[in-house]
């Protein structure tokens, strides 16, 4: 739905050059929620602004819904008509809501429709329908200053949906909100994604956001995408920083003669009760040191850290059993055997 290839953005100011984006290749599939996470200054904001060409990339292309936006006429702010029409089909939600304080909630939602030239009656019908969708039907006549942060963002979302977009861009939409409100806004985005088949590209610096609603994620550092993929793919990647951050496990061995094993659940194997099978088959006591599990699409994904009695040499057979189940196994405190690790991942 959204594809960027070789996207670069260099800011020039007073003779200095700052590279904000450095060859970003991003692919967002239709109907998924895609999260781009990174620290401040990693280039996330530049990336999302390049997607609807609020900022014109220095090089590279952006394709949204099959349309190459970079090829459309217009430079930066002076966007041509074609580009403006394309933009109106991409909704955008902002960190600081960006609602017009001089307009009522309803008039704010009507604004994109005014720009599209929709008639007055149709505008108010659509605006009220959208406010109902985001649960603010009773606030239509209020001014933004009278709303709470979460309510303002709901208005922002309703406004972004006014042009019936297929794609929604979210620029740190929950970063100015408290945890409780963040959850409710993310839930709303998730519902909209499911109900309307909306493709959502969001940028955030909060891992929780990615964890709670994203199907896919990318990690950005210094203008580059360091890792990307679906949550399952990330888990399957050995040494993935993003997977480790999404599913953090901790805990140390309780003694010298113990083996600590990290098990990563993804794919088909995740449904089976492997731990109890392991315990019964080899008659060993297993303690769980830590686990981060989630259920995505009826399947369990995540990681678990378990402790087996005895040293690694004593546990080669049970670990082999786990690998046979198609699980990814990392033995802690042991120099990785690349061949074995790869074998585990391949299965």
């Amino acid at each position: 739905m959204i594809t960027t290839s070789g996207l670069s953005k260099v800011y020039r100011s007073r003779g200095r050059e700052v590279t904000a984006l450095d060859g970003v290749d991003l692919h967002v599939r239709e109907g998924e929620v895609y999260g781009v996470i990174g620290q401040s200054g990693a280039g996330k904001s530049s990336l999302i602004r390049c997607v609807n060409l609020l900022e014109r990339p220095t090089s590279g292309t952006v394709t949204v819904a099959g349309q190459d936006l970079t090829a459309l006429a217009g430079r930066g702010h002076r966007a041509g008509r074609e580009l403006r029409r394309a933009r109106s089909r991409i909704g955008m939600v902002f960190q600081h809501f960006n609602l017009l304080s001089s307009r009522t909630v309803q008039d704010n939602v009507e604004l994109p429709l005014e720009i599209l030239g929709v008639s007055g009656k149709e505008r108010s019908r659509k605006a009220l329908e959208l406010l109902d969708l985001v649960g603010l039907a009773d606030k239509a006549g209020s001014y933004p200053a009278q709303l709470s942060g979460g309510q303002k963002q709901r208005v922002g979302i309703a406004r972004a949906l006014a042009g019936d977009p297929k794609v929604l861009l979210s620029d740190e939409a929950t970063s100015a909100l408290d945890p409780e409100t963040t959850r409710s806004i993310l839930q709303l985005l998730r519902d909209l994604n499911r109900q309307l088949g909306l493709t959502v590209l969001l940028i955030t610096h909060e891992m929780d956001v990615v964890k709670s609603i994203c199907d896919s994620a990318a990690l950005m550092e210094k203008g580059r995408i360091v890792e990307s993929g679906t949550v399952g793919e990330l888990l399957a990647t050995p040494g993935s920083e993003l997977a480790a951050a999404l599913f953090p496990v901790s805990g140390d061995a309780s003694g010298d003669d113990r083996t600590v094993v990290d098990i990563t659940f993804h794919g088909d194997a995740a449904g089976r009760p492997v731990i109890s099978q392991l315990s019964r088959t080899y008659n060993i006591d297993i303690s769980i040191l830590g686990a981060a599990m989630d259920t995505v699409g009826g399947k369990q994904v995540g990681r678990m850290r378990i402790e087996l009695p005895g040293r690694y040499e004593d546990n080669v057979v049970p670990i082999g059993f786990l690998r046979e189940q198609g699980l990814q196994i990392d033995v802690q405190g042991l120099a990785q055997e690349p061949a074995l690790a790869e074998e585990g991942a391949a299965k």
Binding site: H96, N98, P144, A145
Partner: protein, 252 residues
């Protein structure tokens, strides 16, 4: 004495009214243009910006009485005369346009860039941004600016007596000063004080009314405090020199 003052009041209001109208009609687009053509603006055009800026500066720095004399040729071309109320309106308006334009510029610059971005993301063009964002969002400030302009124009109009335009200032000088009718002078001073107070009050009231309705659309200060992290805006990298340096450090 009373018909004299009455006539003077009407002359002042007539001159100030018309010149305010012209100043708003001329100064508003000029002020908006100053913002739009500035570096990083929607219609960035450094040359045009410098030219407009210089014209505005020169026109503002001229003392009004000199401007009035200097513009006599222009005034005759417009009104056919250089004497009387109509003739005074021309230099008053010419003096007030750049004055108001600068105030408009300041007011419009205050509008959050995020709102401009929001309208652009909806597919709005520059004209839409001006019409739906810049002007409505800065309306309280614009009304305050207009009030300031009116008060300044009342001050300028006192000098309009020089070209035989009448008005309260003219009465104060000719009768109050030159004919030693101190009482009359104080009456004109009192009338001017009342008129200016009423205008200032009305302007403040209108601006405050609009402001209270609106308020700011950003998050409350409490939330900002809770969030230690600096929000990363793309504009900061290109325009803000402070954050620009920080980013250079990171990239290098």
């Amino acid at each position: 004495m009373q018909p004299l003052l009455e006539q003077a009041c009407w002359d002042t209001l007539y001159m100030v009214g018309w010149s305010t109208l012209i100043a708003v009609v001329g100064g508003l687009p000029l002020g908006v243009l100053l913002v739009l053509t500035d570096r990083g603006g929607l219609l960035q055009n450094v040359v045009a910006n410098k030219v407009i800026g210089q014209i505005v500066n020169i026109a503002r720095s001229l003392p009004f009485i000199i401007l009035m004399v200097a513009l006599m040729g222009f005034t005759r071309w417009i009104t056919g005369t250089t004497i009387g109320r109509e003739a005074a309106i021309v230099p008053l308006a010419v003096g007030a346009i750049p004055f108001f334009a600068r105030l408009v510029e300041t007011a419009v610059r205050e509008v959050d860039h995020g709102l401009v971005e929001a309208v652009q993301s909806m597919g709005g063009n520059t004209w839409t941004v001006v019409r739906k964002v810049l002007v409505p969002e800065s309306l309280p400030s614009l009304i305050s600016s207009a009030t300031t302009t009116i008060v300044a124009l009342i001050g300028y109009s006192a000098m309009a007596g020089t070209v035989g335009a009448g008005g309260l200032g003219d009465i104060a000088i000719r009768y109050g000063y030159q004919r030693f009718e101190t009482g009359l002078m104080w009456i004109t001073v009192a009338i001017l004080a009342v008129v200016i107070s009423v205008i200032q009050f009305a302007g403040d009231y209108a601006a405050r009314g609009l402001h209270r309705r609106g308020g700011r659309s950003g998050p409350g200060p409490k939330l900002r405090l809770l969030k230690a992290r600096e929000p990363d805006s793309p504009a900061a990298a290109s325009t803000g020199s402070g954050s620009g340096t920080a980013e250079v450090g990171k990239v290098a």
